[in-house]
């Protein structure tokens, strides 16, 4: 009986103060902690991969006349990191920031406004500018014609093909 009490004391005495004076002294999170989402706005190409993979369905894409808006309501984020791993451009990043408490839920809303590129032919916005740039970058032969081809919407392309052929 007494023996077990003494043992308990010994077990206790081995570690002194494992609680931390957080939040007065900040805590350093481990290397690969999955924290707050960070979106590199200029990298996003608005492909919508993340929308499909997000388990809590917090990412939404809205199209306006000249903009595509990607909305992250990250108040609902479960920090699984699936969006980050599915993003082809690595535009979504998981940071180490974990102190997300806020009084205003809108602080956690992230909005990415992407300029749409207007079709050279019909003037209808059809592709996100970033995506276009990436596609142009990817082109093996960066000839004017190929670029123009990319800058036309699929409908006009079809029409052109019908007309051309």
């Amino acid at each position: 009986m007494l023996k077990s009490k003494i043992k308990a004391l010994l077990l206790s005495s081995r570690h002194r103060k494992i609680t931390r004076p957080y939040p007065f002294v900040p805590v350093k999170p481990p290397e690969n902690l999955r924290g707050k989402l960070q979106i590199l706005k200029n990298k996003c190409i608005g492909c919508g991969n993340c929308v499909r993979t997000c388990p809590s369905r917090l990412i939404k894409i809205e199209n306006t006349s000249d903009e595509r808006i990607v909305k992250f309501s990250s108040g609902r984020c479960i920090y699984c990191g699936r969006c980050a791993s599915s993003c082809p451009e690595r535009a979504i990043q998981i940071t180490h920031e974990f102190e997300l408490a806020t009084e205003n839920k809108e602080d956690l809303e992230i909005e990415v406004r992407l300029k749409m590129f207007k079709c050279l032919q019909c003037g209808k916005p059809f592709i996100v500018e970033n995506m276009l740039t990436r596609q142009i970058e990817k082109l093996s032969d960066k000839s004017e014609e190929q670029i123009r081809k990319l800058m036309t919407c699929s409908e006009c392309k079809r029409k052109m093909q019908q007309r051309g052929d």
Binding site: K5, S12, P30, P55, C80
Partner: protein, 545 residues
């Protein structure tokens, strides 16, 4: 096995595929067939329904049984008319099926004739009648009107007796549940339960909007402590249904995390049990010992809990050699400390005074309610799904099963403390045997209308997931039966005759997981403190379904 086959086939149509024996029966034959199956020594696992109203105006009832020795699942299917589904109850044959039938009653509107306790179980008090949320014609985001007068009739105390309300909010309950203890002085003479305050219809959500790869994350959030078992069980069920072969390394990684989870869950339990009897030092120390495990998980996966690494087809991360080494260090450290902790607990006579002969569950009753996990093993029932029905990498690892006969809280404590040490052994072996290779396999398409059953030995007992694949890239039916679901039903036996002082301890001794049982989306895992809801908020919460 064959004899069973023969006997049943005279009554119903039997199909055998892989390890599943599917029995199609008429509704009128159910009781006889269930009796036959039980006579063969099968364990009752779960009862759930699948709504085929849109296809063929039927509701299919599925009774799940498990033949441990032959490693065979029995699925007993019967189809009821979806306009007025009714079938005779099997609760008198299997006391452990009471809740499952009540749940079917609530969610599918199946009427069980002769049920001993046909009250509402899952749905809130003010949920309207004749509205069955798991039927397919019920939209997942539909908000039903509130029923005005609303209360589930609870047991009344007799003359000179008092109701002691343990809960819904109570210091020693981490989550809301209402244990209605009817006491005579300090002695508990009767008991009633009202739970499912946090039921939010995860199954409905998964069946309605999520796809196969999204559900693991939802499944992981069923439980705040042992979430990984749920994602594993779900993935395994889908993998079985879709006949996907998971790479060996992924299986080993899953095993590692399952065991890590068991270690920290049991340590958490030991701490909580000590806390409930007022031994806060032990509580702090148990949780301190647990902490490196959590940090290890955080280091490897990026999160202390809800690792988020399971997906159908494998795991998303790989364990680096350096991390393996760290793990071994942590294991060595906690093994030493767990041994000390174990000695402290086992030699402390005051703890023995509190734990011994409290909340005893005789083996007979344990078998009646089909309890699982440490609760069953402490009552002398030899069941451990890791051994009986190996999954992940357990078939390649040898270990033993601790068994106690007494069935009291003390026995459960000993069993759990043993299991921590056994898990440490398993971890060592897994680390040694882990093969190289990919951790994830891509799959193309999953055939619809396939069935997958998966068991996982969760820290709290036998976990069961059932998936019926659907046509449009998501499951048609996903059913979860958490281990606490069965263990809970044994509480009526455990609590009667105990004293008020023992009630929180007894409730804690089955290591209940309300959120598992009620399939709840837990908000914050790290803090075991529950949020304070006002009655209004709670009502909103319940309506949010």
């Amino acid at each position: 096995m064959n004899s069973l086959n023969d006997k049943i086939s005279s009554l119903a149509k039997v199909e055998k595929e892989a390890e599943n024996l599917v029995v199609f029966s008429e509704a009128s034959q159910i009781r006889e067939i269930v009796r036959l199956i039980i006579l063969q020594g099968a364990r009752f696992i779960h009862l759930t329904a699948i709504d085929f109203s849109e296809q063929r105006q039927k509701i299919q009832l599925n009774y799940f049984f498990l033949l441990l020795k032959e490693r065979i699942n029995i699925i007993l299917k019967t189809e009821l008319d979806s306009a007025s589904p009714s079938v005779s109850s099997i609760s008198d044959i299997i006391p452990g099926a009471i809740w499952a039938e009540r749940e079917c009653m609530d969610l599918f509107g199946v009427n069980f004739l002769g049920h001993p306790d046909p009250r509402r179980l899952v749905l809130p008090d003010d949920w309207p009648e004749d509205l069955y949320p798991l039927r397919k014609n019920f939209s997942y985001d539909f908000k039903p009107p509130v029923k005005s007068e609303a209360s589930v009739e609870l047991k009344k105390p007799g003359e000179g007796r008092t109701v002691i309300p343990l809960g819904p909010f109570y210091p020693s309950l981490e989550e809301p549940a209402y244990f209605r203890l009817i006491v005579d002085g300090e002695e508990i003479v009767d008991f009633d339960y009202r739970g499912f305050y946090v039921h939010r219809g995860i199954e409905k959500l998964a069946e309605s909007v999520l796809n196969y790869q999204q559900i693991p994350f939802l499944a992981e959030r069923i439980c705040g402590i042992c979430g990984f078992v749920h994602s594993t069980a779900y993935c395994q069920a889908v993998e079985r249904a879709g006949k996907i072969d998971v790479p060996e390394r992924a299986k080993f990684i899953r095993t590692i995390f399952l065991e890590l989870e068991r270690i920290h869950s049991h340590l958490l339990w030991a701490g909580l049990a000590a806390h409930i009897v007022g031994f806060d030092t032990l509580f702090m120390q148990a949780w301190r010992i647990r902490e490196p495990v959590m940090q290890l998980c955080e280091m490897i996966t990026g999160n202390r809990k809800t690792y988020g690494i399971n997906i159908v087809g494998g795991v998303t991360i790989d364990i680096l050699p350096q991390q393996m080494k760290d793990m071994e260090g942590v294991i060595n450290q906690i093994e030493k400390e767990v041994r000390e902790l174990r000695e402290i607990i086992l030699n402390d006579e005051v703890i023995q005074l509190r734990f011994q002969k409290v909340g005893a569950l005789p083996e007979e009753e344990a078998k009646n309610f089909y309890v699982g996990g440490p609760v069953a093993r402490a009552s002398g029932v030899e069941i451990d799904i890791r051994l009986n029905f190996p999954y992940a990498a357990y078939s390649e690892i040898g270990f033993r099963m601790p068994i106690r006969k007494e069935g009291d809280v003390w026995a459960r404590t000993i069993v759990r403390l043993e299991e921590i040490l056994i898990s440490i052994g398993i971890l060592r072996e897994t680390v040694k045997k882990i093969p190289e290779g990919p951790t994830f396999i891509k799959f193309t398409k999953i055939e619809p209308w396939q069935e997958g059953i998966s068991y996982v030995e969760a820290p709290r007992g036998q976990l069961f997931h059932y998936v019926m694949t659907g046509p449009d890239g998501k499951p048609y039916r996903w059913s979860v039966r958490a281990p606490s679901y069965q263990n809970y039903q044994a509480l009526s036996v455990l609590l009667k005759g105990g004293s008020i002082a023992d009630a929180p301890l007894i409730i804690a001794s089955i290591d209940p997981c309300f959120s598992c049982t009620e399939r709840f989306e837990t908000v914050d895992i790290k803090s075991k403190i529950f949020r304070t809801y006002t009655a209004e908020e709670l009502r909103k919460c319940l309506k949010a379904k």
